[in-house]
């Protein structure tokens, strides 16, 4: 649905995007993550047609009218009501959508109390919800969301994530976020940008699974002298940390061998084992590992 090929965007001598090729599958929720200045907003701007690439190409499988963009801090004319903002959006992007849908979308966005209130008095969170309502009213096939949940309280964030989750399969969503737990929760595909370079792109599971299982968390009934040393001697073990008495974290450099040998090492040491669990890597760990 959305592909870019060797995208370069230069601002003077600085490359905001350097040879970025992304591929966003149809109907997926694609999370674009990266530190400040990584090029996320520039990439979204190019996809939205608001900026031109210095070189490279963009292919979007839908007409521009079927795309919707939500900036990170949406703003609207303060003298318009919420209903008028969403109705304007409906009229401009999808006039075939019946006007009655405007109220439904506003209610879904949690703005039922403020439908006919002028937006000049709206909080940042309310503006974000209004922006989302104005974005989804046209039933777009592609949504580009720039930090859609950054300004929201936990309840508002939850609502935004629910809206994004509901869109999976119905529309292709690309959203940038600093909140990695949000990305991990709703995205099925991830792109990691740093300094204009795409460090990783692919299914979230591919990113995390390769790292899951390399760490084992071991809880013991009681601390056991000598066990740490035994584990450290094992050829498959990388590091062994004692997080607390009876709580060990073992990093395996050879996960297969670790799965075959770990229990034997524990048994040989006479450990009273409460649990041995593989510790899945989360996106934050992987992100820090890739971007540091």
């Amino acid at each position: 649905m959305i592909t870019t090929n060797s995208l370069i965007k230069a601002y003077g001598p600085k490359l905001a995007l350097d040879d970025v090729s992304v591929s966003v599958p149809d109907g997926s929720v694609y999370g674009l993550v990266g530190p400040n200045g990584a090029g996320k907003t520039t990439l979204l701007g190019i996809l939205a047609g608001l900026r031109r690439p210095t070189s490279g190409s963009v292919e979007i499988g839908v007409p521009r009218e079927r795309m919707a963009v939500l900036p990170d801090t949406p703003q609207f004319e303060p003298w318009l009501t919420a209903r008028e903002v969403v109705d304007l959006s409906r009229n401009l992007s999808a006039p075939e959508v019946p006007p009655a849908r405007v109220e439904e979308v506003l209610i879904e966005a949690g703005l039922e109390e403020s439908i006919d209130v002028r937006v000049g008095g709206f909080s940042r969170g309310m503006l974000q919800r209004l922006g989302l309502a104005a974005t989804v009213i046209g039933d777009p096939q592609v949504l580009l969301l720039d930090e859609p949940s950054a300004a929201l309280d936990p309840a508002g964030r939850r609502e935004v994530l629910d809206v994004v989750t509901r869109l999976r399969g119905r529309a292709t969503v690309m959203f940038s976020s600093h909140i990695l737990s949000d990305v991990q929760e709703v995205c099925d595909t991830v792109g990691i940008l740093r300094d204009g370079h795409l460090l990783f792109e692919g299914p979230l599971n591919d990113l995390l699974v390769g790292r899951a299982g390399t760490i084992f968390r071991i809880r013991l009934r009681e601390p056991l002298d000598g066990l740490v040393a035994s584990l450290q001697r094992a050829s498959w073990a990388g590091s062994v940390e004692q997080l607390a008495p009876g709580d060990l974290r073992v990093t395996a450099i050879d996960p297969g061998q670790a799965e075959r040998s770990l229990i034997r090492v524990l048994a040989d040491a006479g450990a009273a084992v409460i649990s041995v669990t593989p510790e899945g890597a989360d996106l934050e760990d992987v992100f820090l590992e890739l971007t540091s």
């Binding site: 919707a68 900036p71 703003q75």
Partner: protein
């Protein structure tokens, strides 16, 4: 809700139309009054100094009005137009509109028409008031001259708002847009000090109303009218092109 209604609401809900009408109507009332009673006013506040003024003519009533609206009226209109026509002064609003409206012409035209139209209607309303009052207080005016003068003045306002639109698309911010527009509009009469070019410049139309009621011929303004209309269209085209090429 469409882009035309959006611009209508911008004009009415922000009370900008009141500011535009207030200045034109105010001078439409005050101009002929001050022309008619300038002697009495000076006598009243002059501290006993006796000043004699010639008997006012109907053209004096219009000149008082015209002189004031060409300065203060134009200033207010330019400021209000700059607020509406700097389409990209707020990034988030610009994103909202640019990603939903494919053509920049579709975005610009309602803004231009509503602002310029309000300015022209206010100018015509003020002129009609000044005409009526002059006729009652001083004497009748030639209807043909007044009609042509209103037409020329209106075309000049359309040109002035087109300059605002072009400056706004190039500069993005309201204050620089106002400053550049006023500079351009003030420079034109200065260039017009060169006699050969004066009758070709848009600023020549500014003196149309006053000149016509004093006996000038409408044909004296044809060259300026053509250049002003062509300039207005060229500025509109330039604005549309600039907006289309600009990155957000």
């Amino acid at each position: 809700m469409n882009l035309w209604r959006l611009e209508w609401l911008r004009m009415t809900r922000t009370n900008r139309w009141i500011a535009i009408f207030a200045v034109f109507v105010f001078f439409g009332i005050i101009g002929p009054l001050s022309a008619r009673y300038i002697g009495e006013i000076v006598e009243q506040f002059g501290g006993g100094i006796e000043v004699s003024f010639p008997e006012p003519t109907p053209a004096d009533g219009i000149m008082q009005y015209s002189g004031n609206v060409q300065q203060l009226g134009l200033l207010v209109l330019v400021m209000i137009a700059a607020g509406a026509l700097t389409i990209e002064s707020r990034y988030e609003m610009a994103v909202f509109l640019r990603t939903r409206v494919g053509s920049t012409a579709r975005l610009l035209i309602p803004r231009y028409v509503v602002v310029a139209g309000t300015g022209v209607i206010a100018f015509v309303a003020g002129t009609l008031l000044a005409w009526y009052e002059t006729a009652v207080l001083i004497g009748p005016l030639d209807a043909g001259a007044m009609a042509a003068g209103m037409a020329f003045g209106s075309v000049y306002l359309l040109f002035a708002v087109a300059v605002v639109a072009f400056a706004g698309s190039a500069l993005k911010n309201v204050l620089p847009t106002v400053i550049v527009t006023l500079t351009v509009l003030l420079l034109l009469p200065l260039i017009g000090l060169i006699p050969v070019v004066e009758e070709w410049l848009p600023s020549h139309l500014v003196g149309g109303l006053d000149g016509l009621v004093r006996g000038a011929e409408a044909t004296d303004f044809i060259k300026s009218l053509v250049v002003t209309l062509a300039g207005t269209l060229a500025l509109q085209y330039g604005t549309i092109r600039l907006l289309a090429r600009r990155e957000l």
